[in-house]
Symmetry: C2
Subunit: 111 residues, 2 copies
């Protein structure tokens, strides 16, 4: 059993205004899926992109929108779960004044 507080996990900054912490991954023995916590600063966005693997997301704090492949925006906030199937264009945009924090899981073997 591995137990960690996400605040103690070192963060990377893959984009301006975006940080990523890998909480549970292959280094811990996770064979099937990877748990990460992202923070998006006010006014920033995750990349607007698509890839072959899925996302399973849970919003921990903040307010924003999830934009789908048709450009449709749906409000998200604390307690919202978002499933993005593989191949679908998507991004999460922080439209609030505070950080938008969420868990995002992906299968192992991808980025």
């Amino acid at each position: 059993m591995e137990i960690v507080d996400y605040r103690k996990v070192p963060a990377t900054a893959p984009l301006p205004g975006v940080t990523n912490r890998v909480l549970i991954g292959p280094d811990d023995g996770a064979q099937n899926f990877i748990m990460r916590v992202f923070e998006i600063a006010s006014g920033h966005t995750s990349p607007d992109h698509a890839h072959f693997w899925e996302h399973e997301i849970f919003i921990l704090a903040g307010k924003g929108v999830a934009r789908d492949q048709d450009g449709k925006e749906t409000p998200i906030g604390e307690g919202t779960a978002v499933f993005i199937p593989g191949g679908e264009n998507h991004c999460l945009i922080n439209r609030g004044g505070d950080v938008l924090r969420f868990i995002c899981l992906i299968p192992t073997g991808v980025k």
Copy 2:
């Protein structure tokens, strides 16, 4: 893209003092892993058991302990991630006065 607030997902009660909501699963097209939200009432516990699949857990609210296969108890609370490898005995116990709420992910094809 599927978006849902966990509070609007019907809950089952697999044990006294324990509820389970499946937020993202095979019915949504999730092929690799399943996102659930559990709530454990004050003084209650998840089953003390082991199974061949892993858990990836993130605590959303409340206070308690995670007990490992050796009986060692580690405090958990908001922001704690817990990885339980397949085959390890484990349980989560609510030792606080409020609900212990957490996300628990498992691979598809198991319970």
